[in-house]
């Protein structure tokens, strides 16, 4: 069984979510070819996660139409039964185009490798799971970021240049504005997230949240009301209508835990809630909780974590 993985190249590096897609394809148990664009160093680290061959299209950009032509051409050439993407910002632009072009069933946001023909995915914003089957011979799968752990195999892949034509680009990237200049991990891929809500009483009080995030190496986030009143930027809003996250640790400070907020964070492996109100609904969804004033508890927690970090 030949499986093709599309890997996203971000400034010369294969993204973590794409490496997860490579690992997912390898776990499916086929011969894994990865295809990417631009230029990368060596095999881009993809052999280490199970790719046997990497094809690089130096003549393609991040334009979804070029990448669609590239992926479909390579998929046909190697006779791929499955084409795997990450369900990230690039995968969401390219995977649906590839599925439509190949008239193949697309399972978007898979959280586990196929069991028989069934693929598990989140539905209803993480409030339930569905087991989905493709009714077509060929299948496109996009893997939800942070749902499939990376396992290095120590292997390496052969690298080949793509010689075909990817055609012209329909979407031209003019500029890129990084979300953070402090080097913190983007929210959708963050393994640690510290989030705060209206309980912080004002934007000027976010220093203690940033300190706590700093000691953990976590990314900061916020609830919807806080983004809507302009205390924090929209790109920090996690929830059903904001960003959905799946970190290993989510610490929520001064957030009551409305059902719409929970829908964006219920993929977190461990949830810690700090709130003055013992009746806050968030405690029902939490693994650990502290009932107390954020202005006292958060600095103490930061200090305790500092002590822990220096001891380990």
């Amino acid at each position: 069984m030949a499986i093709l993985v599309f890997a996203d190249n971000h400034g010369g590096k294969i993204t973590k979510s794409s490496l997860e897609a490579v690992g997912y394809a390898a776990a499916m148990g086929g011969d894994v070819t990865a295809v990417t664009f631009g230029s990368i160093e060596g095999d881009g680290g993809m052999g280490n996660y199970g790719a046997s061959k990497v094809i690089v299209a130096g003549n393609a950009t991040s334009d979804p139409q070029q990448l669609t032509r590239l992926v479909v051409d390579v998929a046909n050439a190697i006779g791929a039964s499955d084409i795997v993407f990450s369900h990230d910002t690039t995968g969401k632009s390219v995977a649906p185009r590839v599925a439509a072009r190949m008239d193949a069933g697309l399972v978007a946001g898979a959280t586990a490798i196929p069991s028989g023909k069934e693929i598990k995915k989140n539905v209803f914003s993480g409030k339930a799971f569905a087991y989905v089957e493709a009714c077509t011979d060929k299948r496109v799968i996009s893997v939800l970021p942070n749902s499939f752990g990376l396992k290095a195999s120590g292997g390496s892949a052969t690298v080949e240049q793509y010689s075909g034509d990817c055609g012209s680009a329909g979407v031209i990237v003019k500029d890129f504005k990084p979300t953070s200049t402090d080097g913190s991990v983007p929210l959708p891929e963050a393994e640690m997230v510290v989030s705060a809500g209206r309980g912080m009483k004002g934007p000027e009080n976010w220093g203690i949240i940033e300190d706590l995030a700093g000691v953990l190496g976590a990314t900061t986030a916020c609830s919807r009301p806080v983004a809507d009143i302009g205390w924090r930027p929209h790109h920090e809003h996690v929830g059903q209508t904001g960003i959905a996250i799946r970190p290993n640790l989510y610490i929520a400070v001064g957030i009551s835990g409305a059902i719409q907020h929970l829908a964006g964070v219920n993929g977190s492996k461990v949830i810690v809630v700090i709130n003055t109100d013992p009746e806050a609904p968030f405690f029902k969804a939490a693994d650990y909780g502290i009932v107390g004033d954020a202005f006292e508890v958060v600095p103490k927690l930061t200090e305790a974590l500092k002590a822990f970090k220096s001891a380990h």
């Binding site: 139409q65 390219v94 649906p96 697309l106 946001g109 209803f124 650990y288 508890v297």
Partner: protein, 246 residues
């Protein structure tokens, strides 16, 4: 500018999620359906803003039965000029995309707008499929959209930041949070919506390319472990030794 906005119905964000028929169907009992928030708050409202600034028309399109008509009337009340409902069963995303692309290609739109995903199936795929079927560019996860003549300038969510991109019309986009502010329909809009045209288009059935075999609810969460505010070191210990996340 002729704009087509794809509108889907979705269970209200506070709905209790349950399944029937041996976990093969969503239990609609007592569920309030709304316009999918990304379709309404962002795609539709930005389409209306563009029309107000530059002229043209805003048509909504929905694939499904007459049970969609209430949410279509809501979109008309917010300000769409007219609506199309393709009277076919929305079996899966590729089938829906084919119905929309067939209609859009036959009727010539400058811009086709969708929400970034529906809040029930969370696929984020219909827009990209429509674009491929129409053979036009697609910009997903757009948070800003301006149109100048035949060129659109957009900002979109990308890995680690925001991309500023350009594409020529005709174009398909999916809208994310930040593109526009939600509009609440006023009484005049609600009255006008009753008489705005809602065209029902018959269509040949298109086969599904995927099917949901069954649903499952997540296991019940164990009760929260409370730690005293005076003993945060205990929390650090639990996160390290029990949860093993630090």
């Amino acid at each position: 500018m002729k704009i087509l906005v794809c509108i889907s119905k979705a269970p209200d964000t506070t709905s209790r999620i349950a399944f029937t028929d041996n976990n093969t169907a969503f239990d609609q009992n007592g569920v309030q359906f709304i316009v999918n928030p990304y379709d309404e708050w962002y795609a539709l409202v930005r389409a209306l803003e563009l029309k107000e600034a530059q002229g043209g028309s805003v048509t909504t399109i929905t694939v499904g039965g007459a049970d969609n008509d209430p949410i279509i009337r809501k979109a008309l009340a917010i300000g769409a000029d007219d609506a199309v409902r393709v009277d076919a069963e929305a079996l899966d995303s590729l089938a829906v995309a084919k119905y929309i692309a067939n209609y859009a290609s036959a009727n010539g739109y400058d811009l086709v707008m969708c929400g970034k995903e529906t809040i029930d199936y969370n696929g984020a795929v219909v827009g990209g499929m429509v674009a491929e079927l129409m053979d036009v560019p697609y910009v997903s996860l757009a948070i800003k959209l301006d149109v100048n003549g035949s060129v659109a300038t957009l900002e979109r969510e990308a890995q680690g930041g925001t991309e500023i991109v350009e594409a020529s019309l005709p174009l398909v986009i999916s809208a994310s949070k930040g593109m526009a502010e939600q509009r609440i329909p006023n009484m005049r809009g609600i009255m006008a919506a009753r008489t705005k045209p809602l065209q029902v288009v018959a269509s040949e059935g298109i086969n599904a390319s995927t099917k949901v075999v069954r649903y499952e609810l997540p296991p019940a969460k164990a009760a929260v472990k409370l730690v005293s505010a005076d003993n945060v070191a205990e929390l650090v210990d639990l996160l390290h030794n029990e949860a093993k996340v630090i």
